[in-house]
Structure formats: C-alpha cells, structure tokens
Amino acid sequence: MQVLIGIAGKDFVLTAADTTTARSIVVMKHGEDKSRLLNKHNLLLYTGEPGDTVQFAEYIQCNIKLYEIRNGLELGTSACASFVRKQMAESLRSRGPYNVNYLIAGASKKGEPELYWGDYLAASQKMPFAAQGYAAYFVMSTMDRYWRPDLSLEEARVLLQKCLDELKTRFIGNLPEFLIKVVDKDGVRIIA
C-alpha cells in the first residue's frame, strides 16, 4: 500500500511519499515521514518491511555521514546510490536480508538532478521518473505520457498532481495525505 514517487526536473527532483503507517486493516499513524536525509543534497525514501526500513535507512544515513567526516567530502548522488546498492546486495545473501525498496533523490551543487530506483533484491537504476509500490502500476504510464526533460517546478507539481489523482481514482487503497519534498542545489525542503 505504501507509495513513493519521484520526478526529476530541470535542476531539482520532486518526491512524494504517502504518510500512512498501517498494519493489516488498522491505520496506526498519519504524518509519517518515509525519508532520511543522507547529506545536504541527497534524500533516501523507503518502503517495505517495517523495522527493516528505518534500520536500513538510518544505517545508510550514518555511514554517509561518516564518509563525510572522514573525507571532508559530500558524496554525490551516484556514489550514494552505488553505496546503497552494494549494502543491499551484501545483505541479500546474508542471514537476514533487508526487505526495503527505495528511491534516492539528489541534486549536485551545480543543480544536476538524479533519481535512482532500487529494490529489495539490490537492483538499481537511474531513472528520469520512478515509483515504488503498487503506485508504479498506475503512475508510470501517466509519467511516460507527460514527463519531459527540463520540467520546471510548477510543471512537475502539475504532473505529480496528475499522478496522485490517478491513484485517488483507480487505486483501492486510501492514501489521504502525501509528504512532498523538493531536492535541489539549495538542499531539501518540504512543499505543500
């Protein structure tokens, strides 16, 4: 039921994640933030097995921070994505694999936006727009139709709204609220 969507625009990445935490038929909480800031310009959004998700995301967050402390360098998005994939691949054939699907959204200081899709099997791919969860079956085709390179923030918001409307119409799960963030050269911020 959990949904992650990412859209790369001209110099930013627009991300949306649902904010519902549910177990079976019960909605336990609204307002959950399904992301962790890896560094100033990179955001990791996650879905999957409860527990695994937060443990994995915080493990990655801490290791990226450690790299920064040791080397004095902010890791770029493709390096973060490689690192996450490698950790996922090592966990896959271990005693306890992480059952986590994720998106990594990042923009370099120069403003080049990058979006990486990664699943629990440790496959990873850079994509112009991506979705995790059941949402993918509905919104990927919407984004295929309307996405263009060099979208402005306003155009990307319109596209994202189209995707969320699609889910409202056609998806059986009730997802009343989404947390929408923008990652660009100035960092990560929440937008309404």
Partner: protein, 201 residues
C-alpha cells in the same frame, strides 16, 4: 531468472565478433526502464554480457571490473578473452550451491587475432561455440533466429545486420525482453557500439 527479463546474443564472424542485448528492465509484468545495461566492456578486445536477475547482473559486473583491474595491476598486461572466460566460470562455480542468477555471454578477439565467443550457464559451465551463443528469457526464440540467419565468415557490417535482425525478431516474441537493443561489434582495430530502435511494446 525471468523476474527482470532480458537476453543476449554473441556471434562470430570473419576476424570480428558481435554481442547484442535488449534494453528492458522490469519487475515481472511491469516494465520500468529502457536503459538497463547488460553488456560491459573489459578492454578494447573483450566484451561480456549478463542476462538474468538484475541485481546479480549489477553485482557480477562490479566484481568483474574489480577482478580485471586487479589482473591488470598484478600481471601488467591485458587479460586474454579465454582467460577472462575462465575467470567468469570460476567466479560463478564458487557459488555452486547458492548461485548468481545470471548467464553470461563473452565475446572477444584473442591476442593472435582469432575471434572467440562463448556462453555459460549460471554455475559456470562454458559453452565454446563456433557460430553463435544465446542466453536469456528469449533464448529459444534467439536460437531459432540465429540458426536461420547466421552464416560463416560474415564481415563486420554484415555481422551487425545479422545479429540485429535476430535480436529484434526474437525479442518481439518475448514479453520480458525488448524495448530496444544494443549491439557492440569488435574488430582487430575498432570497437563500435550502436543502439537499435525496436518496438516499444
């Protein structure tokens, strides 16, 4: 092996070899991207491809980059294509009872100028072929197309046409493969990579 989909062909010509892959990456019925890399260069004379589970394609390609870089540093020379094939075979057989779900195709030109192709199963059994090798979800379709179209001693340009037609026609008959194609042709003096425009359905 049919979770992400994908397929490969390797073909031998007259003093040249070619390797082709499709570009699809999906999760069962859902296609996700048309840019998934399945063919990787080792150096100017050797290329290999991996078809199967996406994660193992990526993990193995990273492993082989590491191993060939180490080889170059230790041996102070380029690796030969037969040697590389055995390196891949050993790496896969190491995991005999918990294998990587990927089946490689390796093509290259030996140091003496002879073209070489081979493929392997997921536990590293090498198939040294004289004509062509195929792996992936559309392998049966590919066998049919290659058997029909291949002839010995094709020049580089003709080999490119042959391998491309085989790839496009076979992947059009497989739901999990396609969404474009990539072909790399290796001759003693050049290595050229081209993308194919195919049906996007």
């Amino acid at each position: 092996m049919s979770y992400n989909g994908g397929c490969l062909i390797g073909m031998r010509g007259k003093n040249c070899v070619a390797i082709a892959s499709d570009r699809r990456f999906g999760v069962q019925a859902l296609g996700l991207t048309t840019e998934f890399q399945k063919i990787f260069p080792v150096n100017d004379k050797i290329c290999y491809g991996l078809a199967g589970l996406g994660t193992d394609v990526q993990t193995l390609s990273e492993k082989f980059t590491f191993k060939t870089n180490m080889y170059k540093l230790n041996e102070e020379r380029e690796i030969g294509v037969k040697t590389f094939a055995h390196l891949v075979s050993s790496t896969l057989y190491e995991k005999r009872f918990g294998p990587y779900y990927a089946e490689p195709v390796i093509v290259g030109i030996e140091k003496d100028g002879k073209p070489f192709i081979c493929s392997m199963d997921l536990i590293g059994c090498i198939n040294f072929a004289e004509d062509f090798v195929v792996t992936g979800t559309a392998s049966e379709q590919l066998y049919g197309m290659c058997e029909a179209l291949w002839e010995p001693e094709l020049e580089a340009e003709d080999l490119f046409e042959t391998i491309s037609q085989a790839m496009l026609s076979a992947t059009n008959r497989d739901a999990l493969s396609g969404w474009g194609g990539v072909v790399t042709v290796i001759t003693p003096d050049k290595i050229i990579t081209r993308t194919l425009k195919g049906r996007s359905d």
